[in-house]
Structure formats: C-alpha cells, structure tokens
C-alpha cells in the first residue's frame, strides 16, 4: 500500500477557469475527488455565516459591526431570594474573562474524576517547576483538593450546557465555565462529542490560571483566548443595567471614556441614578409608543439597539453641552453601576443577582463571536 500523494504543480487554484455561471454549484461539487469531499464534509460554516448573509459559503467579511441581536430581553429584575446559593459564588468578585473553543468529550457526569485529575496535575506541575512560589497564606499544599460543581438554573435554552464552577480548596482562586443563551443553531451544528462552554471567568491567584488552562487544553483539546468587551457591548450593559431601576438606583452610573489625545485623557462621567433613569425612560417612551401592541410593563419587554444608541447619544450630547468635549471621538472603556462593572480589558463584576442572566447572555455571545470556526 503506498500512500504517495500526487504532487501537482504549484499553480494557484484560483487561476483555473471558473465554471460558467449557468452551471449550478452542486454539479461541480460532485466532480471533486472523494478525498476532498470527505474532508470538506468537516468544513463548517463559520459562526458568522449563521448570522450574516444567507450564502451557502457565507463567510461574512468584517466582524466589527455587530449584526446580531438587535434586541434583547430585559426581564423584570429578580429579588435576591431567587438567586440560588451556587450562583451567589459568582457575585461580588471581579472576574477576568476568556473565551474557550468547544470542549471535546467533556462529560458533566464525571466532574469528580476531573477534580481529582486536575488536583494531581497541578501538584505534579508545581513539583516540576521546583516548588513554585511560596505564598504567604497557603504555602505548598501536600494534598490539593479541587472541586467541580454544577451551577444550576443558568441555562436558558435547551442547547445550553450547565455552568461548571471550579474551586480548589484552600487556594485563593476560582473559575467557572458557562454558556448562557448561546445561539442554538451553532450549538446544534457541533457534533455530539463537543460541549460548548465558551465563556470562562477566573479570579484569584495568578499562578494557578495557566495550570488550569493547560490541563483543560490537554484533556479536552480546547484553546483559551482573552475576551475583550468591546464598546458596543459596554453600551448595551450600561443601558440594560440602567433599565433595572430598582436595583440600579443605589449608585451612580459611571462611565469611563478614553480619548486619543497626547497624553491620553481619561474621562470619568458619573450620572446620578435618578437622572440616568429619567433619560432612559425618555428614550424608550417615544419608541415604545410606536409599538402599541406591546402589553408589557415599562421595565419588561425587549430593549432595542436604537434605544441603547439613543441613550448613549443623550449622555454624550449632555457632556458636550457642558464641557465642549465630544466623547464619541474616544472609546468607552468602563461601565459601572450598582448592578456590576465591566471593563474593556475583559474584567467583569456582577454585584447583584438581577440581570445576571442577561449580562451573561451578552457575554456568551461575545465569546461565541470569537470562535475560529
């Protein structure tokens, strides 16, 4: 048996005569050799093609402008009682965000095994690195225990996988993998062996994060990458958090812009929560009046991108009137309200259980946008 492949010449394939336009694409696909066909079976449409143009090969160029969700559900804020104890662990801590490619053969039923393996791996890696840093508090554990727990109640669609929370005992680090409200079409397109948990949040001692990521890469053949929150998402968060009037009315809405001057200028714009709410309501009402068949109350229903843009424009024009500084020339880098704070570099803090699901849905979408295939 010889596997010698035929080395065809280096001619660019593009220079081949294109098939005449009258010929449908399907027949030319039949003519491709079996080998190519087999592999192109695995070629999947990129995530963007699900949301972009309808072409069969639709790789939409340009990924900056969000053409995706133009309206999000903003449910009525839940009271603190409705947040389960497991979800409480996700609150009131600053997390660093990353995106993760889908995990291969990750089973939610084997969490105990994974916990043991991770503990052994971390220990052996630390040994090989010659002891690692000796921390003031924890020191070098002889038996490092790790626990993987499921955080129930976060899955929004049936395609969502359950959130997994990772916590080593006695080490000041924790992390969690989540998929909240992910695009069901994309999830369904993945073969069954894959579990899609694209959002990874970690916080705590910095030396443990690379070890945990390395173990995941080795065990489930996935890749990690940093997830930034772009300006549009920050604007969404500002609007959504302001929308939740009851909880957000405790602290001012703080926005930080960075302006590209020499030296770079950072503008912190703090708005009294009542004023923010008034502005938001005024932006919403004219648009709401146009849609008369909405029977939802004021706080409920969906929020559209036009309302968000209107809200931000209102804030910017107010600033301009007083200070003659056009904030839209710069970039929004940080948003914080009583419900939480988010920074452009990928840092997130959720202070309140209300709107946690909506926030995470937005971030899951950001993470899914970064999927390479």
């Amino acid at each position: 048996m010889s596997l010698s492949t035929c080395r065809c010449s280096e001619a660019l394939w593009m220079r081949m005569d294109p098939p005449p336009t009258s010929q449908p694409f399907s027949t030319s696909a039949v003519r491709t050799p079996l080998l190519a066909q087999r592999r192109s079976r695995s070629s999947r449409q990129s995530y963007r093609s699900y949301v972009g143009t309808a072409s069969h090969l639709g790789y939409t160029p340009g990924f900056t402008k969000r053409r995706l969700t133009t309206s999000r559900l903003a449910p009525r804020g839940r009271t603190a009682d409705e947040v389960s104890p497991a979800q409480l662990a996700l609150l009131a801590r600053e997390w660093q965000l990353s995106y993760v490619t889908p995990l291969y053969r990750f089973r939610h039923g084997q969490l105990k095994t994974y916990a043991r393996q991770l503990a052994a791996f971390v220990q052996s890696e630390k040994q090989q690195q010659g002891g690692g840093p000796v921390e003031a508090g924890a020191g070098m554990e002889s038996t490092l225990k790790v626990s993987f727990t499921l955080v129930a109640g976060m899955a929004q669609t049936e395609a969502d996988a359950d959130t997994v929370f990772i916590q080593p005992h006695k080490a000041l680090w924790s992390g969690w993998l989540a998929c909240v409200g992910g695009d069901p079409d994309y999830m369904r397109s993945l073969p069954e062996d894959f579990v899609c948990l694209p959002l990874f949040c970690r916080g705590g001692a910095a030396w443990l994060s690379p070890l945990v990521e390395a173990w995941f890469c080795r065990t489930f053949d996935c890749c990690f990458g940093p997830l930034e929150i772009n300006a549009v998402s920050l604007q969404w968060l500002a609007a959504l958090w302001t929308n939740c009037r009851a909880q957000a009315g405790v602290q001012p809405l703080k926005l930080v812009w960075s302006l590209p001057v020499e030296p770079p200028l950072e503008v912190t714009y703090a708005v009294h929560p009542q004023d923010a709410w008034e502005l938001w309501r005024s932006v919403r009402r004219p648009l709401r009046e146009r849609v008369d068949e909405e029977e939802d109350e004021d706080e409920d229903g969906s929020v559209g991108i036009e309302e968000v843009e209107g809200f931000i424009k209102g804030l910017q024009s107010h600033f301009y009137r007083h200070f003659r500084l056009e904030l839209s020339a710069g970039q929004l880098t940080q948003v914080s309200t009583a419900l939480g704070s988010a920074k452009h570099g990928g840092r997130l803090k959720i202070s309140n259980g209300s709107y946690m699901v909506t926030t995470l849905t937005l971030l899951t979408e950001c993470a899914l946008l970064k999927m390479p295939v």
């Binding site: 596997l3 492949t5 035929c6 080395r7 065809c8 280096e10 001619a11 394939w13 593009m14 294109p18 098939p19 336009t21 694409f25 030319s28 491709t32 190519a36 087999r38 592999r39 192109s40 695995s42 070629s43 999947r44 990129s46 090969l57 790789y59 160029p61 340009g62 990924f63 490619t101 889908p102 291969y104 053969r105 043991r116 503990a119 220990q123 040994q127 010659g130 002891g131 690692g132 000796v134 020191g139 070098m140 554990e141 002889s142 038996t143 006695k170 993945l190 073969p191 062996d193 894959f194 080795r218 065990t219 053949d221 996935c222 890749c223 990458g225 970064k370 999927m371 390479p372 295939v373």
Partner: protein, 454 residues
C-alpha cells in the same frame, strides 16, 4: 501492559524475572550487536568523529585500560564537544549510556560520560531501562549511582515514553532502601507513580523508612502522592502545610541543557519520530506566543469506548515507523491534542486516513484559534519583529502540511477571508499567497465578492 507496547524493542524485560537474568540477557545481546558491527568494519571509516567515537565505544573490549588510552581520550573529547554544542542524538545517548553503565572500562570514563550526556531532542526509553538494569547488577559505586539517578531526573521530560519505566517500577522501588539513593529515588518514583503502583507493601516499606530516617520531606511527599491516589491505604495524617517540594538535582547539566535548547529553539522539527515533544523550558523565560507552539503528542486522556470491546488500543504516540503504522492502522487512537499531529509527517499520513469528523473539527479549532490569535485579534496587526519569525515558521509548517495533504483546512479558508480585509499586502506575503492557493474552488461570483473586493 508491557506486552502490548512491545512493538519494536530490544530484549524483553519481563518484570518477574530476576535482575541477574536480565543482565545476562543484555550482555549476550550486546556481544551479538558488537559482533555484527565488527563484521561491517570493512566499510570505510565514517567522516563524522562522533560516529567513529560511537563505533569505538561499542566495540571496545571489556577490561581495556582507560588510563593513558589516547584513543579513548580522543573519542571522548569529540563526543563532549558535540554534546556541549548541540546535544547528542538519541542513538548516541543510547550507546554512551550503555558504555558508561556497563563499566566496560572502569568507573572514571563512566562518570565523565554521564556528565556529558546532554540530549538534543529526546532520550530513548530503552536506553534508560537498560541502564537501570545495569544499576541493578550492583557494580557501580554509590556516588556514580547517585549521579545516574540525578541524570534521569534531569532528562525525565525528554524520555519519549515512560510506560516501560513504569513497568519496572518495582525494581526502581527496591532502591529506596539505600540511604544515599533514597531522596533521588523518591523523586523519581514521584514522577513515575500511577494509581496501580500504590501497593500496601510499598506503603509499609516507606513508613518503615520514615521511622528509621525521620520525617524526611522526600518521604512525606511520596507518601502524600500515594495518598492522593489511594487514600484508604495511607492512613497517617500528613502535614497540610509543606514547604516547596523536591529540590532540583540538575545542577551539573542545567546550564548546558538550557544553552542547547536555546540553540535548537529556532529549528523547525521535521520527520522526527512521534511521541517526542521538545519542551522549551528555558528556565523561567515565558514564551509570549505560546499559542503557536505545537502541543506535545500525548495519548488521549480519556479513552472510553474501546474498553468495552476488550481491544488493545495503540496510542499514536507509540508509533515510530511507517511499518508500525500500517500494522496497527485499525487500532490507533488519536492523541489528546490534535494540533500535535502537524509536527510529524508520519502522523499526517495517518491523518489522511482518518474519517472522524470530530477529529477534524478539533484540529480546525486549534488551528483557527492560533491563526486568529496571532493575526487578527492582536492590537494593531502584530507585525513586531519578535513575533514575525515564529509566525513565518508557523505558516511555513501549515503550508507544508497542506501541500502534503493536497488540501486546505476549512479554518484556513475562513481565516483568510477575514484576514484579507485587513491585510496590508506586504506582511508575510509569500506565505499568505501560498495559503491562498489552497482554497477550494468556489463559483466565480463568490470569489469575486469574498476575495477580490477591497
């Protein structure tokens, strides 16, 4: 376990046979090897001094005096020179280790050879196992034994497969009673231990030692690892706060190894046997662009489906030649990380036969992630000097892979469509144009829209 992995190996080491029988076995095969080599001496002498040195060291008779032996001196010097500049090849390591541990010319060359045993890429596991056999014979002085174990600890990560070493776990464990060897043997056992190695007898032995030597840190570490695997066998309470673990014992080789690895870091790996990974552990220097490093070829961590069929599965990491690949084609198990397949042409040939869609998807994810992270997601195009060399190498490897397979990957296609929108036309031009030639044929209207529009 040793039986299934016995694909092509020198004399079997049945773990139940006594050590002397194993030693006799190896010496007899040794003479047959050297006899074979002597017959071929008619061939003209090789130009390479290292080859000549290796030949000499293989053929020299036992008992030849080492003192004042100019020929020996000459050969050792040439080997040392190569070792310190670029490291020794695996075959050289095997020959040198055999020569040293068999004490054919006394103890002094042994120490000298051990000190210069610096591997360039990897250490063949058969050589290490044979050396342990010689250790069992018991003729080496204690200091040399200590030196040998320290050497094994230093190059542990470069040993290509650890399964045979694990198979002789019991033999290694038996050295734990030697007081001078104990700390190093404990460290080696720590690295080798798997769940099935933890036995009550061994735990008892360690506890006995602990009562004799006191609560030595190396003993406590090994016991704590045993406890992680089998908490019911180790019932004593171990201190929860401990200082940093085993000490590094690699001082004689450390600086030389780092220098060699730095020198070899620029070279692209090609056609090396599978199952080897060059760990670029240059001290604490962090590679910023680790996403373009090929992962090491390790067996899959979770192999679930085969156990119910009682079929022996061969991990791809254990295949080292094309013949083996053909023999075991139906039994091969894919590695843990698909990205590691790009490092070896043998693995790529197997990839040609793979039908599994998940496997391709994994590979596409990893490849797509690396391409995106390097070229698309970084701040301003990532054309800094330090990254461009690695980027060029990575793209070259991708090009050669696609050329070998005569087909492009779908993630490359997706990446190119996005990248061309932001490409300035001159960054890595030959590589990008090369990648363009692998895009599958699409109708001309699509091509126009996707590629030709600015």
């Amino acid at each position: 376990m040793a039986a299934t992995l016995n694909l092509s190996r020198p004399p079997d080491l049945d773990s139940s046979s006594s050590s002397s029988a194993a030693a006799a076995d190896s010496t007899s095969s040794d003479t047959s090897v050297s006899r074979g080599l002597r017959r071929r001496r008619r061939r003209p002498e090789a130009e390479d001094p290292v080859v000549a040195a290796l030949k000499y060291l293989t053929e020299v008779e036992a008992g030849t005096p080492a003192q004042g032996n100019d020929e020996l001196e000459k050969h050792l010097v040439s080997v040392e020179r190569v070792a310190y500049s670029q490291g020794l090849s695996p075959e050289a390591i095997a020959v040198m280790l055999e020569f040293a541990m068999s004490l054919r010319m006394g103890v002094s060359p042994c120490v000298r050879v051990l000190k210069c045993l610096l591997p360039a890429t990897m250490v063949p596991h058969q050589a290490v196992v044979r050396a342990v056999v010689w250790l069992c014979v018991g003729k080496l002085p204690i200091s040399t034994q200590v030196l040998f174990v320290k050497w094994v600890l230093t190059v542990f990560d470069m040993i290509d497969a650890k399964d045979n070493l694990r198979a002789i776990y019991g033999f290694v464990f038996s050295f734990v009673t030697e007081e001078d060897l104990c700390p190093y043997i404990c460290h080696l056992l720590y690295l080798l231990t798997r769940k099935e190695c933890v036995r009550l007898l061994r735990v008892r032995k360690l506890l006995e030692l602990q009562s004799k030597l006191g609560k030595q840190p190396f003993l406590v570490h090994l016991l704590s690892l045993y406890k992680v695997f089998c908490p019911d066998l180790v019932t004593l309470s171990l201190p929860s706060r401990m200082r940093a673990g085993f000490r590094n014992h690699n001082r004689p080789w450390k600086s030389a190894l780092i220098a060699i690895q730095k020198g070899n870091a620029g070279r692209v790996l090609s056609d090396l046997p599978l199952g080897l990974g060059t760990k670029e552990k240059a001290g604490s220097r962090k590679r910023k662009l680790g996403h373009m490093e090929l992962p090491t070829l390790t067996p899959a961590v979770q192999s679930q489906t085969q156990t119910s069929y009682n079929k022996a599965v061969v991990p791809l990491a254990h295949i080292s030649s094309f013949v083996q690949l053909l023999e075991n084609l139906h039994l091969i198990e894919l590695p843990a990380q698909m990205g590691s397949l790009l490092g070896s042409s043998l693995a790529l040939q197997y990839l040609d036969c793979v039908q599994d869609e998940s496997a391709f998807l994994r590979l596409n994810f990893w490849l797509g992630h690396a391409l995106h992270k390097e070229f698309l997601f970084c701040g301003h195009g990532g054309a800094s000097q330090s990254s461009s060399e690695e980027a060029v190498q990575f793209l070259e490897r991708l090009l050669s892979t696609q050329h070998f397979l005569q087909e492009g990957f779908s993630c490359t296609e997706a990446f190119l469509y996005k990248f061309l929108n932001v490409w300035d036309g001159s960054l890595l031009r030959p590589q990008i144009l090369g990648l363009l030639s692998s895009i599958p044929v699409v109708p001309s209207s699509c091509i126009n829209r996707l590629l030709f529009e600015p």
